[in-house]
């Protein structure tokens, strides 16, 4: 699967897209997340599976540079996220990562199209209307393109959020519990959509969930266990 150009950050990345070395995180002297050594190669969609409280969100916050790990390091597209200054993290995140949140994370005052346009403007500094239309059509929202997020159904909103994450053509799409609120059929449809959409833009998926239903869909799995004991991999 070819990796498309993505903004200015198209360093030749022969290495893995995500690379964790001795990674773990402590909060108030308590270990809340432990990964150790792990890497995610481009195109190898991965599932981060673990029970509630096992540190999935903590790991995602570290991957996206919102949190600095207490131990170890994390490299994103060859750059060490945890060593970068705040502005550098912002830039790396902006140019490499698309995020899908568990709940609706669209600007309520803007239409679906305007939300996508804003994301493009922020990440790429330009708006590609054709790409926006293509993606909205791809997630089956062409007829709702001008609707406000609060006028969308839960499923429509999530599809819009996926489109928003992909519209900047990120190399890595990170999703935190995208299916936990959905019924079986919608959860399956959601994962289908993410795979298909990621493949059309050449993105690599990293999906965190405690939702066992979608586990079989991923070949690449990283299991987290609840703290106290436990090393995963």
């Amino acid at each position: 699967m070819p990796i498309p150009e993505s903004g200015a950050f198209s360093e030749p990345s022969q290495g893995p897209l995500v690379e964790a070395r001795g990674l773990s995180h402590e909060r108030d002297g308590r270990r809340v997340m432990h990964i150790g050594d792990w890497h995610l190669a481009a195109g190898a969609h991965a599932l981060l599976l673990g029970p509630s409280g096992s540190g999935k969100t903590t790991f995602i916050n570290i991957v996206t540079g919102l949190l600095t790990p207490s131990h170890g390091s994390i490299r994103i597209a060859g750059q060490e996220m945890s060593a970068l200054p705040p502005a550098g993290r912002d830039a790396l995140r902006r140019q490499t990562i698309g995020l899908v949140f568990q709940t609706l994370r669209l600007i309520p005052a803007l239409s679906v199209t305007a939300n996508l346009a804003l994301a493009q403007k922020l990440a790429l500094g330009r708006v590609d209307t054709a790409e926006i239309e293509r993606l909205i059509g791809r997630v089956g929202l062409a007829h709702r393109a001008q609707a406000r997020p609060r006028q969308l159904s839960q499923g429509e909103g999530q599809r819009a959020a996926i489109a928003r994450a992909l519209v900047t053509r990120p190399r890595l799409v990170v999703a935190d519990e995208p299916t936990s609120a959905l019924d079986d059929r919608n959860a399956a449809a959601m994962i289908d959509l993410m795979f298909e959409a990621a493949d059309t833009t050449g993105a690599t998926l990293l999906v965190a969930t405690h939702d066992g239903r979608i586990a079989p869909r991923f070949a690449n799995r990283l299991d987290l266990v609840a703290p106290a004991a436990g090393v995963a991999s």
């Binding site: 919102l66 902006r94 995020l99 568990q102 600007i107 994301a119 922020l122 990440a123």
Partner: protein, 436 residues
């Protein structure tokens, strides 16, 4: 990001509208006050240009100034014509111009004076010529526009200084327009100028002697002249006309009298010496326009200050209201902002977005307030003749408005930046977790 700010503002349209209106009211009040006081002062200065002192009958000095310099109040009384020459003989007096008031035509005052008066106020002829013969008149630009009078037009003055439907008319003595003045932006635009003896003639008073250029002897031999019309006979009926107030009657000219004398000095010593000398040593009263007007403005100023304080309060209230509105809106939007940061908005961009929201509110309120302020002044001037005569003009812009606009924008900006920085200080990861 401006688009996003507009979208957020549109999303809470009612709140936005209320804040804009609140700020607009504050701005409008300040603009109205500013324009009102500035235009009034400007008008006062322009009308009094070159007039260092006014000499008239004893009474209120302010009334003397208002009646003879601004033509808004009734005169304090009359002084003998000889006063003019007396003043002209004084050292340091450059000019002494007599004014004879008493009549009006459709509310425009008829002023008996010398051509030096329009010259003093910088008025020049638009067409026609300066009056030379008795009963010839030169009219100001506003008089020409208001009455439609052209050259050669004859008209009859009504008695008194303001028009009234049932006031007595001087039917027998028609004036003739021989010249019209260019607009000057001073009180002269609203005056009808004629020779002093024309005014006397209207009142049945013969001039002491016939002179061509208005220089008069000061032996008062005109007293007891016969009066030519029955309904207006001062000597026979000193008690005055029916329908006249006692004050109006006090303004009646008797033989060889003028209402006031405008004086221009050419030496500062005269300015120091003469006013006091006149007040102490004669039956006359002197008043200095600058002194009386600053006294008047100080008096009015106390009232204006109170209104100004209220307007400032209104603007601060508007600022607080914008502050509260943005604070609540941003609190609801903490999740949005964290997400914006995650999808690539820099801190500066977030601050810029919130600041532009406050600025857009403030700018809209300011623009509306400026329009409202000018509109109110224009409307007031259009509907109240007195205000228009005072020189109120809704379409002139005062540099102080930039200051008001700047203050309003600053209020909007500060009201926006405080909550913006508050939000930025919070931890994005935590905000995202909490907003979930």
């Amino acid at each position: 990001m401006i688009g996003l700010s507009l979208a957020y503002l549109r999303d809470r349209a009612l709140n936005t509208a209320l804040n804009i209106i609140l700020l607009a009211l504050g701005v409008a009040s300040l603009v109205i006050l500013l324009l009102f006081s500035a235009q009034l002062e400007d008008r006062f200065d322009r009308d009094a240009q070159g007039i260092d002192m006014v000499v008239g009958a004893k009474g209120s000095p302010l009334q003397l100034i208002l009646s003879s310099v601004y033509h808004v109040d009734i005169p304090t009384g009359n002084v003998p014509l000889g006063t003019v020459d007396l003043l002209r003989r004084q050292l340091g007096v450059a000019e002494a111009i007599p004014l004879a008031l008493g009549d009006n035509f459709r509310g425009y005052r008829i002023v008996g004076t010398e051509p030096a008066y329009p010259a003093l106020l910088g008025a020049t002829l638009a067409d026609g010529r300066m009056y030379q013969q008795k009963m010839e008149a030169v009219i100001g630009a506003e008089v020409a526009a208001g009455t439609g009078a052209g050259l050669g037009q004859r008209f009859i003055g009504g008695h008194g200084l303001s028009s009234s439907e049932n006031g007595p008319k001087h039917n027998e003595a028609p004036f003739m327009v021989v010249g019209r003045l260019k607009p000057t932006g001073t009180v002269i635009d609203r005056l009808i100028l004629t020779r002093i003896d024309s005014v006397w003639a209207v009142h049945g008073i013969e001039a002491p002697h016939e002179h061509e250029d208005g220089e008069h002897d000061h032996d008062h031999d005109a007293k007891g002249e016969e009066h030519e019309h029955e309904d207006h006979d001062h000597a026979a009926l000193p008690a005055g006309h029916e329908g006249e107030t006692a004050e109006e009657h006090a303004a009646h000219l008797r033989p060889a009298e003028v209402t006031a004398v405008l004086v221009r000095f050419n030496s500062p010593i005269a300015a120091v010496r003469l006013p006091g000398f006149i007040n102490r040593q004669t039956d006359l009263q002197s008043a200095v326009p600058a002194v009386e007007i600053s006294r008047l403005l100080a008096l009015v100023g106390v009232g204006l200050d109170a209104v100004r304080a209220f307007a400032v309060l209104l603007m601060i209230t508007a600022g607080l209201s914008i502050f509260v509105a943005l604070l609540t809106a941003l609190k609801e939007r903490e999740g949005d902002m964290a997400m914006l940061r995650v999808i690539g908005a820099s801190r500066a961009a977030i601050i810029g977005q919130v600041a532009s929201e406050g600025l857009i509110l403030a700018a809209a309120g300011t623009a509306l307030g400026l329009a409202l302020g000018h509109g109110v002044i224009a409307l007031a001037a259009a509907n109240f003749r007195q205000l228009q005569q005072l020189g109120l003009d809704g379409f002139s812009v005062h540099p102080g408005e930039a200051l008001i606009a700047g203050a309003a924008l600053a209020i909007g900006l500060i009201a926006a930046l405080i909550p913006a920085f508050r939000v930025l200080k919070s931890d994005i990861a935590e905000t995202l977790a909490n907003a979930r």
